[in-house]
């Protein structure tokens, strides 16, 4: 708050281009200097903000900022600050003790190692492999002599190859294309091999995974890869990876390969869906036919059984049973229909046929009826 107008003033001077720091209007620099000189030694405000605030009114009144002024002030301030630290030379004993402490700390830090349960510490003595530390607290020679590299051997690491969002296309044995995503889980078995044998262990594992997966897929058909062959492919890739990595002395164990996704490529997905739709349709056709067959079997057996029951009775008293059935049926039939009885043969009855709505259902021909009844009566 107190400074900003001062800056603004300075800028104004700049804009007027009347010399960067020189006094523009006829102020009195010695006066300003004098007032500053009077202000700075004051012990009261120790903060640098304090003094301009105090001298503010006089500065505004004189309207002066000079380089000399500034230098003088800075010098005074610097001198004050310097005197606060003190210029006593540090004692030699202190330096020696400091050095000893630093060395002791260094020895402690570099020779004392805490190996976590999942870690192993690979000790190299002047760069040469010396031993592997198990979990717990261990001591080694201090740093330049022995170094410890901690390797996490238990943690199972995951490499994802291919993803659900982008297509990773591979060729199968029947020259089809499959979109595959899988992950490989591995951990370190021999930390010293892992550290010293391969230049890029992780990259190597990834390359070997890709290579093994491609080789495994080239041995199966697309349908196997999409369908029931997955487990087989996973084991095959795992075995193959382990074999190759052991050959490289990578010192890792492949814990498992998981195929997360094995689909036909998006471009042909619809055709694959059509196949499963066709399978569903065919299955439902077959189901319907089975239902029909079941129904028909029951029906036929039912009818046959019913006939046989009646037939048994009929055999006991054929004539009577036959007549009874005949009359009962006629009774049921004729009691519910409109009947017309025509006495005289040769009289053509003009029947109100329009009332008999379904003409086919009407028995118009007496001869036909008689024939049936004759047949029935036989």
């Amino acid at each position: 708050m107190s400074i900003i107008p001062g800056w603004a003033r300075g800028r104004g001077l700049f804009a007027d281009s009347k010399g960067p720091w020189g006094p523009s209007s006829g102020g009195t620099p010695p006066g300003g200097g004098g007032s500053d000189g009077a202000d700075t030694p004051r012990p009261g405000p120790s903060s640098p903000w304090g003094s301009p605030g105090v001298k503010r009114p006089t500065g505004a009144a004189s309207n002066v900022t000079s380089l000399d002024d500034f230098i003088a002030r800075s010098r005074a301030r610097f001198g004050g600050g310097g005197s606060g630290v003190g210029q006593r030379p540090p004692s030699k004993a202190l330096i020696v003790w400091g050095l000893v402490a630093a060395i002791a700390l260094w020895l402690l830090l570099t020779s004392f190692h805490r190996i976590a349960p999942e870690e192993r510490g690979v000790v190299t003595q002047f760069g040469r492999y010396s031993r592997t530390l198990g979990p717990g607290i261990s001591f080694t020679l201090p740093s330049p002599l022995e170094r410890v590299q901690k390797v996490d051997v238990e943690n199972i690491r995951n490499i994802d190859l291919g993803s659900a969002t982008s297509e990773t296309l591979m060729l199968t044995g029947d020259q089809n294309i499959i979109d595959i995503a899988y992950s490989v889980r591995w951990n370190v078995r021999d930390p010293e091999l892992y550290l010293f044998e391969l230049q890029n262990p992780e990259e190597t594992i990834q390359q070997v995974a890709e290579s093994s997966m491609r080789a495994a897929l080239s041995g199966v058909t697309l349908d196997q890869a999409i369908g029931e062959g997955r487990g087989d492919i996973e084991t095959r890739v795992q075995d193959s990876m382990q074999r190759i990595l052991d050959f490289y002395k990578a010192g890792v164990v492949i814990q498992g390969v998981a195929i997360k996704q094995a689909d036909p490529p998006a471009a042909v997905n619809d055709a694959f869906k059509a196949v499963s739709a066709a399978q569903q349709a065919a299955q439902s056709d077959i189901n319907q036919a089975r239902a029909y067959a079941l129904q028909l079997r029951q029906l036929s057996q039912g009818e046959a059984t019913a006939f046989e029951k009646v037939y048994e009775q009929y055999r006991l008293a054929p004539e009577v049973t036959r007549r009874r059935m005949y009359y009962e049926t006629m009774e049921r039939v004729l009691q519910n229909v409109d009947k017309t009885i025509v006495e005289v043969p040769g009289v053509t009855p003009y029947l109100p046929l329009q009332q008999t709505r379904p003409p086919a259902a009407a028995l118009q021909e007496p001869g036909a009826g008689a024939a049936q009844q004759q047949g029935a009566g036989r």
Binding site: Y129, F196, Q199, V275, A278, A361
Partner: protein, 287 residues
């Protein structure tokens, strides 16, 4: 001695520093992962921590090494297995199909001196081997039909490529451990599209045949059921065809005129008095 140091502190400090630096520069740590080729005045002198097949980790070689200051120069050469990742190669099979192949080779410097003389650094070896790997791959795979390209491991092609590449690599003091195909893809554009088209049509064909097969199976099931029903009927009704005729006629009348639900159909029946059902009207009525 102390007097000299006290009298000339600056000079003695400088001398001490120089001695220290010389001592330090005469000692080098050879890490387990590197081979050190020591060159004295430009002439190769000795190799430390050289790769020995089958030697266990931590054997002689790595560790402290001494060199003559200002005379010996140490060239560090990786001892580990390194890889050359090849750029994608277009391989043309004998049946004129194209395949894009990504391969990698693993190698290890077994003769550091030769490698240093011929190539100076591992990177240069990689750069030199990369195109050779590509051409070996093309030559070897180009002699095979497309179907074999998908699993070249089985036909020993990769071993041939490894051997061919190894022959060249030995000139650089490098041993090729393994060559593998990482990826093998159909090239973008028409080969890929036609493969898609083939897959699509194959699936459509499959879909149709599945449908047809389903329909056929369904029809067979129905026909078998019909046959079985006919058999059942015949076995039962055949016991007395005449009675069956009558029995069935009765059922037919019933169903035709009354229906299964018991409600009459709208039917007009014109009967002659001679009808058997009405015969009592004409014959026995007055009796």
């Amino acid at each position: 001695m102390t007097n000299v140091i006290l009298r000339r502190p600056l000079l003695s400090a400088i001398i001490a520093l120089v001695v220290l630096l010389t001592l330090l520069s005469s000692v080098r740590i050879v890490p387990e992962t590197s081979q050190a080729l020591i060159v004295r005045f430009g002439k190769p002198d000795r190799i430390l921590n050289r790769y020995q097949p089958g030697a266990p980790i931590g054997s002689e070689g790595a560790g402290l090494a001494f060199r003559v200051p200002f005379a010996d120069e140490i060239v560090w050469i990786d001892k580990r297995v390194r890889d050359v990742d090849m750029e994608r190669q277009m391989v043309l099979s004998t049946d004129q199909l194209r395949l894009e192949v990504d391969a990698f080779a693993r190698y290890r410097v077994v003769d550091p001196l030769r490698m240093y003389i011929r190539a100076r650094s591992e990177e240069n070896v990689s750069t030199a081997l990369r195109p050779i790997l590509g051409s070996e791959l093309r030559n070897e795979l180009g002699r095979r039909p497309f179907a074999d390209l998908l699993s070249p491991e089985r036909q020993g092609a990769m071993e041939n490529i490894r051997r061919g590449l190894d022959r060249v690599a030995r000139q650089y003091g490098v041993q090729i451990i393994d060559v593998r195909i990482k990826r093998a893809d159909l090239p973008d554009g028409s080969p890929l599209q036609s493969a898609y088209e083939r897959m699509k049509t194959a699936r459509e064909q499959e879909a149709r045949s599945i449908r047809a097969e389903g329909a056929r199976t369904a029809q067979v099931i129905r026909a078998e059921a019909d046959a079985l029903a006919a058999q059942t009927y015949a076995a039962s009704f055949g016991k007395d065809p005449a009675f069956y005729d009558f029995y069935r006629a009765m059922q037919a009348y019933q169903r035709t005129f009354v229906g299964d639900d018991g409600k009459a159909r709208p039917t007009n029946v014109i009967l002659s008095p001679q009808n058997q059902f009405l015969r009592e009207f004409t014959q026995g009525g007055g009796r």
